[in-house]
């Protein structure tokens, strides 16, 4: 490995012109630039989006609004190339600040096994003191559902598996709720319980009868010991159920909602996450906005719901084979099948993924995250750029096998073989995602400055996608935060180490360009702290910007 050049060597490497520019920069740094033109503001990178300001709750939308036929055809047959704008709600290092949509969790700060197991649950589950009073039953739809109040008066929703597929829907919801929560999304609290019919009693004057409850349970999978396995869900602190959110535009009556949803990185990146957990049925009806009151403020929190439709489950039945491979309408495929009597145009029909009753249709053999798609075209997914996919993929790949084993165990499958299959499939799909997306910008992340060393992680090497001997070219420039331009190269070096010294220049901002052969490059922006607050590390990372190879492919 070649030794890193010393500071004097850097100085020699800087040409005469560069030195002149550097001098001018240093002098210019003394002037005060107006904040309006600066690229990096004092509080960058921002990690908390102030989108939980006290605002009146939006009106509830009582039913799901469809997208309409024109919108459907536009999404189905629109030209994807028109979507080129990067995500808007990102901070200067490409991260998504904590917000009412998203909270940075497992990737930024690894969760313990217990936290992974607990997932979104922040309250105790339904009380086992006394019966659960049934206040609503629902036999329509895919699976039987019941709404209850426990002895403490809290409301819970119960969902049961279909008799033909015990454990499938409830198991999928348990696993996906833990995964999505650890990834940072808002999901309901999920508990798995076994109950006897006697636990359910009609709430007086609710109009519910014991026969009505029995008719619901008659459609549910019953265990050999006459108990029912039920998924118990509850969203905490709900002041108002507002209705589903859409993946396009903003809610006009929510002042906190200012970034178009299709331009939110966490919703674009959700495409990768959805591919991982095969949430191909995701669309607005499986989301929910709720009004909450916290610390005297009213704001809307945005949830992903109906997680029993993830993994291999479509609710009462396994997912259809085409799910994940095609949108609901792709005319070229239809005509191909007409012309060939179905012999061509449906390669997914050959998918031989095992279809155990508790698994449904979920496999990794033909999984290609780039080709995966939801059943219904999703405007946020369609706008996902490599940067969005990289953001999501690094979080997906961050789950270790042990993490996933912990999470799969929460599904409490009665068959160890099913649990093992789920684990192996999630691991395989996770690895496919890493192979597809982690190359963006060279796969570098977790930048920080320690002891005047710019350190980072090569995610590709960390996860075995490339050898850890890849040599990267590092070019340092001074950066003009006001004009948003960079100086000529001050220092150039190559290294395969995951740390490089910060050159000893006193420019307010430096830009390091780390070029990785055949995988693009990453620009890292450092700000020199004011002398009075410099402390042990005079520089800190304020910006990260990745670019791909010459012709980056969309996700």
């Amino acid at each position: 490995m070649r030794a890193l050049p010393s500071a004097s060597a850097w100085a020699r490497a800087v040409g005469r012109t560069g030195r002149l520019c550097l001098l001018l920069v240093l002098v210019g740094a003394g002037s005060v630039a107006p904040a309006s033109a600066q690229r990096f503001l004092p509080d960058d990178p921002l990690w908390n989006d102030p989108d939980r300001m006290d605002m009146p709750f939006p009106e509830s939308t009582t039913s799901v609004r469809g997208i309409g036929p024109l919108e459907f055809f536009r999404r189905s047959f629109g030209v994807p190339g028109e979507y080129t704008a990067p995500a808007q709600n990102v901070n200067t290092v490409g991260g998504v600040p904590n917000s009412s949509w998203y909270t940075n969790r497992h990737y930024r700060s690894p969760l313990s096994r217990a936290a992974l197991r607990r997932g979104p649950n922040q309250e105790p589950g339904p009380s086992l003191r006394g019966p659960w009073r049934v206040i609503g039953v629902e036999t329509r739809g895919d699976l039987p559902r019941i709404e209850v109040r426990d002895a403490t008066g809290r409301r819970f929703r119960l969902l049961f598996d279909a008799p033909a597929h015990p454990e499938m829907a409830t198991g999928a919801a348990m696993i996906s709720s833990r995964l999505l929560h650890a990834l940072g999304y808002n999901v309901s609290q999920h508990w798995l319980r076994r109950i006897r019919p006697e636990r359910l009693a009609p709430k007086p004057d609710s109009g519910i009868t014991p026969a009505g409850i029995d008719s619901v349970l008659a459609q549910a999978a019953r265990r050999p010991d006459s108990t029912y396995r039920t998924l118990v869900t509850r969203i905490p602190n709900v002041a108002r159920r507002i209705g589903p959110f859409r993946f396009r535009g903003t809610r006009p009556d929510d002042a906190n909602d200012v970034f178009p949803h299709e331009d939110r990185r966490e919703l674009r990146g959700l495409r990768v996450v959805a591919a991982w957990i095969h949430h191909s049925k995701l669309r607005p009806r499986h989301t929910l906005d709720v009004g909450v009151r916290e610390e005297g403020r009213r704001f809307v929190r945005h949830y992903l719901t109906d997680l029993h439709l993830t993994l291999g489950s479509a609710g009462a039945t396994p997912k259809p084979q085409w799910s994940g491979h095609e949108y609901v309408l792709e005319l070229d495929r239809v005509f191909e099948r007409i012309g060939t009597l179905g012999l061509s145009g449906g390669e997914w029909a050959e998918d031989a993924s095992p279809e155990a009753a508790a698994i449904g249709h979920f496999g990794a053999k033909r999984f290609d995250p780039r080709r995966w798609r939801p059943e219904w075209p999703n405007p946020a997914f369609q706008r996902a750029r490599p940067a969005d996919a990289f953001w999501a993929a690094k979080k997906v790949r961050h789950f270790s096998r042990a993490d996933l084993r912990t999470i799969v165990a929460t599904a409490d499958y009665s068959s160890p073989a099913v649990a093992d299959y789920m684990l192996r499939t999630l691991v395989a799909r996770r690895d496919s995602i890493a192979r597809a997306y982690l190359h963006w910008g060279g796969g570098l992340d977790q930048f920080s400055v320690r002891a005047e060393q710019l350190t980072f992680a090569d995610l590709r090497a960390t996860h075995g996608l490339v050898p850890d001997t890849v040599r990267r070219t590092v070019m340092w420039r001074a950066y003009d935060n006001q004009a948003r331009t960079a100086s000529p190269i001050l220092v150039r070096t190559t290294s395969s180490r995951e740390s490089v010294p910060v050159p000893a220049y006193s420019a307010p901002h430096l830009r390091a360009t780390i070029a990785v052969p055949h995988a693009g490059s990453t620009h890292v922006f450092l700000r020199r702290s004011p002398p009075e607050s410099a402390g042990p590390a005079p520089h800190r990372v304020v910006g990260v910007e990745r670019t791909g190879p010459a012709s980056p492919r969309g996700p």
């Binding site: 904040a35 309408l329 331009t485």
Partner: protein, 439 residues
């Protein structure tokens, strides 16, 4: 000024900015006085709060919301809508359900909530069509262990029925019209033998009231004379029969009560399970005892066999075949022409109009190759061959009537909701539309 000295160099080296983080301030806050990112983002919200407006759903969104909770189901040749507001009381709008030339049909179906389920059936329906057909019916039954039974009553006003004459050589130009008001009341009892077989019997009383039809077509009496059996006479029949059914088809959905057991004649010819594999055989022997005139008694034997051969290469499901035979023995007696077996139309011999060929005996073969072309649409290439004849001595098996064509089936959860068949026969192209599958 100082920055401008090296800015050109920097621009020349500026990276591809396509995926550079674009925080909202970059696009919206130039010139803003807010010194921090958080303040800028906060200001965006405050600005929006000053111009807040509740969303107004569009007409399409309102319409979508209104129909979002409406479901539907197809039971043989009927499409039943499930509208939550009506469903509570057991009422459902229903489409289809009248036989013959009824055309577009709609009505109301009442299913008492207290007697519904996989093993229970109770329904009352009233139907009417744009072609002035109307009818009413009720069914009530259940399954208890190996036994299945139900009672039924049905009335049909069929004012535009057509008759082209007897035999396979009847001419389309000789079409005559008639009206038939038909009522039937009876019961059926069966016993399952193992998981696949059913044997049983049924008793029915049928009244037939004959009259001239609506429209410009000549009457049957004018076209074929008054000697034709059934013309101008009202006939009542007591029908007593037995049946056997062997069903080893696969079915992509749970069989509802009404899917397997439909009343009397349609039971053997109208019940499809959208199978792709397996075998089905149904045979029935029914004696029709005329009340009042013994020389109009007759006995009918029917055989319906279906085979489903899967291929499952890509989205090609496989081949489906049906052979149907109906033999009427009258012992020298006469058989009313409107009680003769007929073929033609969407449910038997495609490429010809409904009831195009009638005679005492019928042979019919259907063949289809089926494939999926969309998640909710199947395609079928089909060929049909049919023959009607008075006696076996006179049958000409070398000259059947053929129909062939292309069909599309709308499907949901494995069930065929409706189909469109474009068929070519000896008399030209015909477009058939129907609810449910043919077989």
């Amino acid at each position: 000024m100082l920055g401008a000295l090296w800015a050109p160099h920097a621009r020349a080296q500026s990276p591809d900015r396509a995926d550079a983080p674009r925080t909202a301030s970059d696009s919206s806050s130039r010139g803003s006085a807010h010194p921090s990112r958080a303040a800028r983002w906060r200001r965006m919200r405050q600005k929006k709060a000053q111009n807040i407006a509740p969303p107004e759903p569009t007409f399409v969104q309102r319409a979508m919301s209104a129909v979002a909770d409406i479901g539907g189901a197809v039971v043989p040749h009927r499409f039943i809508l499930n509208i939550p507001q009506l469903d509570v009381a057991g009422f459902h709008p229903v489409f289809g359900g009248l036989e013959g030339n009824a055309g577009t049909t709609a009505g109301i179906l009442y299913e008492p909530p207290f007697w519904q389920g996989k093993d229970r059936l109770a329904e009352v329906q009233v139907l009417g069509s744009l072609r002035r057909y109307y009818g009413a019916g009720l069914r009530f039954g259940g399954i208890a262990g190996p036994y299945v039974g139900y009672t039924y009553a049905r009335y049909r006003h069929r004012p535009r029925e057509q008759f082209y004459g007897l035999g396979i050589d009847s001419q389309a130009e000789s079409k005559a019209g008639f009206r038939l008001n038909q009522g039937v009341v009876g019961g059926l009892l069966g016993r399952t033998i193992g998981p696949s077989a059913l044997v049983g019997g049924h008793v029915s009383y049928q009244v037939n009231r004959y009259g001239d039809g609506y429209g410009d077509s000549p009457t049957v009496a004018d076209q074929f004379g008054t000697d034709l059996s059934g013309v101008g006479t009202d006939l009542d029949y007591l029908m007593i029969g037995g049946f056997f059914e062997l069903d080893v088809r696969d079915a992509p959905y749970d069989r509802a009560f009404g899917h397997r057991f439909a009343p009397t004649e349609p039971r053997l010819r109208g019940v499809s399970l959208d199978a792709s594999r397996g075998f089905y055989l149904a045979t029935e022997l029914t004696h029709n005892l005329n009340v009042g005139q013994q020389d109009l008694d007759f006995t009918r034997f029917t055989l319906d066999v279906r085979e489903f051969l899967p291929i499952q290469e890509g989205l090609l499901h496989g081949f489906s075949f049906r052979q149907f035979a109906s033999v009427t023995h009258s012992g020298g007696n006469r058989v009313p022409f409107y009680r003769l077996q007929s073929i033609g139309g969407a449910r038997s011999l495609r490429g010809y109009s409904s009831g195009r060929f009638r005679d005492r005996n019928v042979l019919l073969v259907n063949a289809e190759v089926r494939c999926q072309i969309w998640h909710w649409l199947d395609m079928a290439v089909f060929g049909d061959a049919g023959q009607v004849f008075r006696t076996f001595r006179t049958v000409d098996l070398d000259d059947p009537r053929l129909g062939y064509g292309l069909g599309f089936r709308i499907k949901n959860d494995g069930k065929t909701l409706g189909r469109i068949d474009v068929a070519r026969g000896r008399e030209g192209w015909t477009l058939h539309t129907d609810l449910g599958s043919l077989f």
